[in-house]
C-alpha cells in the first residue's frame, strides 16, 4: 500500500498545510490523510515524524483520519478529542490534551484492521547488518522500552508495535513510527538517550503517563529498506533479573508467533507457510532481562543463523 507519488513528485513539508490542519503523513508503506482542528496535534506530529514524510499533497491515501473535538457539551466541558477513520469512530474519546496518543493509537488501529496485504505480528522489529530481530510481546513484556533502548544503541527501528511481514518473501517492512512509552520507562529512556525527542507527556491515560519518542534519524531515513528476519526473541522484563537468553524450540516459537499475529487467520495456509519459513531460518530465544544496558550487550552479541539453517 504505497503512495502513488514518485520521489520527484513528493512535495516538501508544507508548514501552511500543517497549520491548516490538513496534511498527508507517510509512515512506512502507508499514507494517512489527516484533518484536524486541534493545534497541538500537527505540532506533536511534526515533532515525532520526519519532515519530508509530512506534506500538503499526495495522490493517494490509505486512511482518511479526522482528529477533532466531539459535538455537544464535551467540545467545551472537560474537552475531549475523537479519532475518526473514514467516518467511523472506533474509540471512546480522550481528553483533548491526549490528541497525540489518540492519533498514534488510532493509526495503529487503522493499520491492524486494514492492512491485510501483510502478515502483521504484534512485535517489535529491529535490524542490524541486514538481519532483523522480531520480538513478539504481550503487555508487560517491556518490549517498547527494550526497543527504544536498542535502536539508540546500534539497531535500526523497523517497528516498535507491529512487524509487517511481506507475504511474498517473508521480509519485514519498516513502519518507523514513534515509540510509545509509559510511566517509568519515559524517564529511563530520557537518561539512556541524551537528547531524545519526546512528545509532551500525557498523564492519567488508561495506561498511566504516556509519551511518544521520535525514532532515530537513521531509522527514519531508511524507511524504504525492508530486511530479512534472523532472530525471533520473546522478551520478558523482570526488575532485577540478570539478562538471560535461552534457546526456545522452533515448534513452540512458531505457535507463539502465530498467536501474536493480528491477522494470521486471514492468510490461512499462506500465513502458516510464511511464518514457518521465518522460524526455520531464524534463531529462536526467550529473553529475560532487568537492566537495559545488560540487554544491549546481549543483543550486541547475537549471531545470525548460518545460511544452511539456524
Amino acid at each position: 500500500m504505497t503512495a502513488t507519488t514518485t520521489a520527484a513528485r513528493e512535495t516538501v513539508p508544507s508548514a501552511a498545510a500543517i497549520e491548516a490542519g490538513d496534511f498527508f503523513l507517510r509512515s512506512g508503506p502507508f499514507t494517512t490523510r489527516v484533518h484536524t482542528s486541534i493545534p497541538h496535534l500537527p505540532d506533536g506530529t511534526a515533532q515525532l515524524y520526519e519532515p519530508r514524510h509530512i506534506s500538503a499533497h499526495r495522490d493517494f491515501a490509505d486512511f482518511h483520519v479526522t482528529v477533532a473535538p466531539p459535538r455537544g457539551v464535551r467540545r467545551w466541558y472537560r474537552p475531549q478529542v475523537l479519532f475518526h477513520l473514514d467516518g467511523i469512530v472506533p474509540f471512546k474519546p480522550l481528553p483533548l490534551l491526549h490528541a497525540v496518543p489518540i492519533f498514534e493509537w488510532g493509526l495503529n488501529w487503522c493499520i491492524v484492521n486494514r492492512a491485510n496485504s501483510y502478515l502483521i505480528i504484534h512485535a517489535a522489529a529491529i535490524e542490524k547488518n541486514g538481519f532483523v530481530a522480531i520480538m513478539p510481546g504481550v503487555p508487560g513484556a517491556g518490549k517498547s522500552t527494550l526497543t527504544a533502548g536498542l535502536v539508540n544503541r546500534g539497531w535500526r527501528l523497523l517497528s516498535d508495535e507491529m512487524a509487517l511481514i511481506s507475504l511474498t518473501d517473508g521480509r519485514v517492512m519498516p513502519l518507523v513510527r514513534p515509540i510509545s512509552l509509559k510511566n517509568e520507562s519515559i524517564a529511563l529512556i530520557r537518561d539512556f538517550v541524551p537528547g531524545a525527542q519526546f512528545s509532551a507527556a500525557c498523564h492519567d491515560t488508561i495506561k498511566g503517563t504516556v509519551a511518544h519518542l521520535k525514532p532515530p534519524q537513521e531509522s527514519l531515513n531508511r524507511v524504504d529498506e525492508p530486511a530479512r528476519p534472523a532472530w525471533i526473541i520473546f522478551p520478558h522484563y523482570v526488575n532485577g533479573l540478570p539478562a538471560t537468553l535461552a534457546t526456545y524450540s522452533k515448534a513452540a516459537s512458531l505457535i507463539e508467533i502465530a498467536r501474536n499475529a493480528f491477522n494470521y487467520s486471514v492468510h490461512g495456509a499462506r500465513g502458516f507457510a510464511v511464518l514457518a519459513d521465518i522460524v526455520e531460518s531464524s534463531r529462536c530465544y526467550r529473553f529475560s532481562y532487568g537492566d537495559l544496558d545488560e540487554a544491549v550487550e546481549v543483543f550486541a552479541a547475537l549471531e545470525p543463523p548460518t545460511r544452511a539453517g539456524a
Binding site: 466531539p70 457539551v73 467511523i88 472506533p90 508487560g140 488508561i206 522452533k250 498467536r259 494470521y264 495456509a269
Partner: protein, 252 residues
Amino acid sequence: MAEGQMRATGSDALPASPAPDIADTVRERRRRVLLGGLAAAGPMIVTLAGRPALGATGVCTVSGYTSVNPSQATGNSQTCGDSPGCWKNKNYQNWPGMRQDVTPYQAYTHDTLLSDGVAIPALAKSPFSNTNVTMGNTIGGGGTVTVTWTFSGIKTTTLWSGGQISNVTAALLNQGFYGPSNYFHPSSNVFGSPDVRSMINSYLTSNSASNPGVIYYTSHPDGNTASKIATLMTSLDNILNAMNNQGELCPG
C-alpha cells in the same frame, strides 16, 4: 543443530525440502517419552484456534494487544469478546465502567460520550445480587434521548438464561471492555458503538413493554423508529452467539 522440516503435499504444495534428520527426531522423541512425558504433565497438543472473518466487522484476532493489564483480562480477551456465561461468572469488578473507589461499586455515569451521543453503558452494582442494575445509555445527538435499561429484581437465572437480553448485555460489555472504544484494542470484530446501538435499538423497539424491568424509549433521533423495528432477533442472537463465543469456557 540440525533441524528438519516436512511439508504436506496439499493442493498448495511447495517443493519438498531436504529430508529431516530422522535420527535426531527419533532421539529427541525417545528422550522426551522416556523422561516421563507420558504422565502428561503438560498439554500434548496446544491448539491455536482459527477465527473466521465475521461479516463487516473483520477478523477476530488472537493476538494480545490490549491496554488492559493481563491480570485483569477476562477470558477470551484476544478474540471476539466473551460469552454471556463468561461475563456472568467473572468477578464483576472487571465489568467495564465500574468505579472501584467506592463501596459498593458504582457505575461511571455519562462519563464519556461519543460524537453521536452514545455513551458506554454504565453499570451499577452487581447484577448478581437482588439490587438494581442500571445500564444508562444516551442515544441521539446532544443527549436528547435517554434509554434506561433497568433490571429490577430479576433473578440471576432469569437474567442470564434469556438468550436475547444476555447476549445484548454481553455485547455491550464486550464492546465496553474489548471494543475499539477501549483506548486501543485491535479486535475490530467486537461490535463498535454504532452497531451495538442499532442492535439495542432493534431489540428494544421490537419487544413489548411488558418485558419486566426494561424501559424503552419511544422515539429515535434519526426519526425513523418504525423502519428500525426489523425483526432481527434471531439473526441478532446468532450473530451475538458467534461473536461472543457462546458456550466457551473462560480460561483462567
